[in-house]
C-alpha cells in the first residue's frame, strides 16, 4: 500500500509542476496588471509597488522565486486584499467551503447509493423508472437554477430557512447551499450505482449465492463490493471539486468561501491569489484521487500492486 501511495505521489509531481507553470505564464501573458486603477498611479509609485512585489524582475526569475516559496509552503501576499497573504485568505475561506463540501459529499453519496441500489434491485420496475427520471432531471438542472429556486420557495415563500449568509455556520444556513451542491452529484452517483450494480447483480457468483439461499443483506454486501468500484473511482475529482467551493453557490447564497476567489482574483489580476487557488485545487485533486485509489484497492484485490 505504501508503495502504491509513493508511486502515485511521484506520478503527480510532473502534473503539479505543469499546472503551476502553465497558469503562472498564462496569467503573466494577460494584458493588464494588479495595480491598474481607473486613475493611473504616478510612475514612481508604480515602480515602487512593482519592486516591492518583485514584478520588476525577469519573468523566469519571478517563476523561480515563486517555486521556491511554494516549496516552503508560502503562497505569497495577495495583491488586492492588502495586508493579507493568500494563506490568510484560505485559512478564512477554506473551513466554510470544506464544511459545505463535505456535507454535500456525504449527502450526495447517501442519496445516490440509496436510490441507485434501489433502482438496480428493481430493474425495469417502477422504482427504477422513477429514479431514472429524477436522476436525469437532477443532472440537467444546473445549480444556478436550483439555488434561486430554493431561495424563493424555502426562503421567501415558505420562510422555513434563511435565504443566504453564513451566520458562523448555523445549520439552518447550511441546508439550502448543501442541498444545491449535493443534488446533481447525487443524481450522477445514483445513475452510476444503478449501472454498475446492475451489471454485478446478473453475474454468476451472485446467482450462485441466491441459489444457495443467502439473505438479501448478505448478497447486497457481496454485490456492493464490486458495484461500488466505479463510484469510488469518480469520488476523487468529485470530492476535490466540492471541497474547493463553488463560485455559483457561494455567490448566490452569499457565503464567505474560497469558491469566489478564483474568478475575483482573475478579474483583479491578483496573480498570487489566482495561482494559490490553482495550486490548492490541483493538490486537492491529487490527494483525493490518492484516497479514492486506496479505497478502491481495499475493495478490489486486483487493484493492489503485486508486492
Amino acid at each position: 500500500m505504501i508503495a502504491l501511495i509513493a508511486r502515485r505521489i511521484a506520478q503527480s509531481l510532473p502534473t503539479l509542476f505543469l499546472v503551476v507553470a502553465g497558469s503562472f505564464f498564462l496569467i503573466r501573458l494577460a494584458p493588464g496588471g494588479p495595480f491598474d486603477l481607473e486613475r493611473p498611479l504616478p510612475p514612481a509609485a508604480m515602480e515602487n509597488l512593482r519592486r516591492v512585489y518583485g514584478l520588476d524582475q525577469p519573468l523566469i526569475v519571478q517563476f523561480g522565486h515563486y517555486l521556491l516559496s511554494l516549496l516552503r509552503g508560502d503562497l505569497g501576499p495577495s495583491f488586492t486584499f492588502r495586508d493579507l497573504t493568500v494563506t490568510d485568505l484560505f485559512a478564512r475561506g477554506l473551513p466554510v467551503s470544506a464544511t459545505l463540501g463535505s456535507l454535500a459529499l456525504v449527502l450526495a453519496l447517501a442519496l445516490g447509493l440509496l436510490f441507485g441500489s434501489l433502482a438496480a434491485s428493481d430493474r425495469g420496475g417502477i422504482a427504477d423508472r422513477l429514479v431514472g427520471l429524477a436522476a436525469s432531471l437532477g443532472l440537467a438542472v444546473p445549480n444556478f437554477v436550483t439555488a434561486p429556486l430554493f431561495q424563493i420557495v424555502f426562503g421567501l415563500g415558505l420562510a422555513w430557512l434563511p435565504v443566504g449568509g453564513w451566520a458562523d455556520g448555523n445549520p439552518r444556513n447550511l441546508v439550502l447551499p448543501v442541498l444545491t451542491l449535493a443534488l446533481p452529484h447525487a443524481a450522477g452517483i445514483a445513475r452510476l450505482t444503478r449501472a454498475s450494480l446492475g451489471e454485478v447483480l446478473i453475474q454468476p457468483h451472485i446467482r450462485t449465492q441466491r441459489a444457495m439461499g443467502l439473505s438479501r443483506a448478505r448478497i447486497a454486501r457481496h454485490a456492493l463490493r464490486g458495484g461500488l468500484l466505479p463510484v469510488v473511482a469518480t469520488l476523487g475529482p468529485l470530492a476535490a471539486g466540492l471541497m474547493t467551493g463553488s463560485v455559483v453557490v457561494e455567490t448566490i447564497f452569499g457565503l464567505p468561501g474560497i469558491g469566489r476567489y478564483f474568478v475575483e482574483g482573475a478579474l483583479n489580476r491578483d496573480y498570487t491569489l489566482v495561482m494559490g487557488t490553482v495550486v490548492l485545487v490541483a493538490v486537492m485533486v491529487i490527494v483525493f484521487n490518492l484516497i479514492a485509489d486506496v479505497i478502491a484497492a481495499a475493495l478490489d484485490p486486483r487493484l493492489r500492486p503485486s508486492a
Binding site: 502534473t15 494577460a30 493588464g32 440537467a140 444556478f144 437554477v145 424563493i152 463560485v247 490541483a282
Partner: protein, 361 residues
Amino acid sequence: MSAALAGLARRRLARDRPALAALASLVLIALACLIGPSLTGHPPERIYPDVVRVAPGLAAHPRPDEVRPALQRLAFRMRVSLEEVVQYGDRVRLTLTAQKPIDLRAFRLLPRSGLFGEAAVRERSADGRRLVAEVPIRKRVFLLGTDALGRDLLSRCLAAGQVSLLIGLTAALAALLIGVAYGAVSGMAGGRVDALMMRLLDILYALPFVFFVIMLLVFFRAGLWLVLVAVAAVEWLDMARIVRTQTLSLKSRDFVRAAYALGLSTESVIARHIVPNTLGPIIAAATLLVPRVILLESFLSFLGLGVQEPATSWGVLIAEGSRAIESAPWMLAAPAGFLVVTLVALNRLGDGLGEALDPRL
C-alpha cells in the same frame, strides 16, 4: 459501422420509446429555435418599454388598464399633456394640450412604442395647442411574458437557443475530431508512442481545465469563438480514450490484418476500417458531450464570462432571470425550462444510442 449494425441499431432505437420521444423533442426545439423567432411576431431584440415584466399568458397587451399609463409616458416624451382618454374597442380618442403649438412629428413616437398605430388628427384648435386624435391600439400577445426591458421572452429564448445549440454542436464536433484523431493514432501506433500519448492524456486529465477556460475568458476578453475552442479543448479527452480502447481491440482482428495483407497503408486502414468501426460508441459519447458543453457554456455565461450582450444564450437569460426572480419568476423559468428539456432529451437520446449501437448486445 457496418450496414448490418446500423440497421440493427435503427430497429433497437425504434423500440426505445423514451429515446424516440427525446429525439422528437430535440427536433422540435431545434426547429423552433431556427424558424420560431420569425413566427412569434416579436423580433428578439424588439423593446416594448410600456409592457415591462408582463406575466406569461394568452392575454393581449396593452390591457385596458395598461393603455392610460402607457399613453401618459408617451405624452410626457411628446411634451404634451393628456387631457382626456376615451377607449372604444381597439381605438383610443386622445385630447392633448400643450404650452406651445403641438408638433405633429411627435406622433411618430406612438407607432414606435409598438402598442399603438398611426394617429389620425380629428380636431385641431386654431393656435395648435389643443388637439384631438384617434389612435388604433396594436394588441400584442406575449406567450412567455416579457423581460425587464420589455422584450418578448419566447423570442429571446428561441434566439438564445440558436446560440446555445450552435455552441453545443460545434464544440462537440471539434472535440470529436480531436479525440478521434488522437485516440486512433495512439491505439494504432502502440508501444512507446501509445504509452507516451496516454501519459500525456493522464496529465491533461488532472489539470483543472475549467480554471484555464476562465483564465482565457477573463484575460483575453474572449468572444464566442474562443469559448468554443476552450470548451472543445476540455472535452476531447474522454473521446480519445474511448477511441483508443476500441482501436486496440480492433487492431488484431482478422479483417484489419487482411487489409494490411492487401497492401493498405496505416493511414488508409485507420480511415477505412478503424474509425468506421468505432463509430457506434463515438456517436453515443458525442451525443452525451453536447449537453455537457451546453451546460458549461451556460455556466460561463452565468458568470458573465461567456456570451456577451446583445448576443444571448440560455445561460445569459438564466442569469438575468435569477436576478429578477422575486418580481418576475418566469424570467428564470422560461430559459431554464428550455435548457433542462434540451439537456434531459440529449442525455436520454445519448443513452439510447449507446445501448442501440452497443455491438456486444
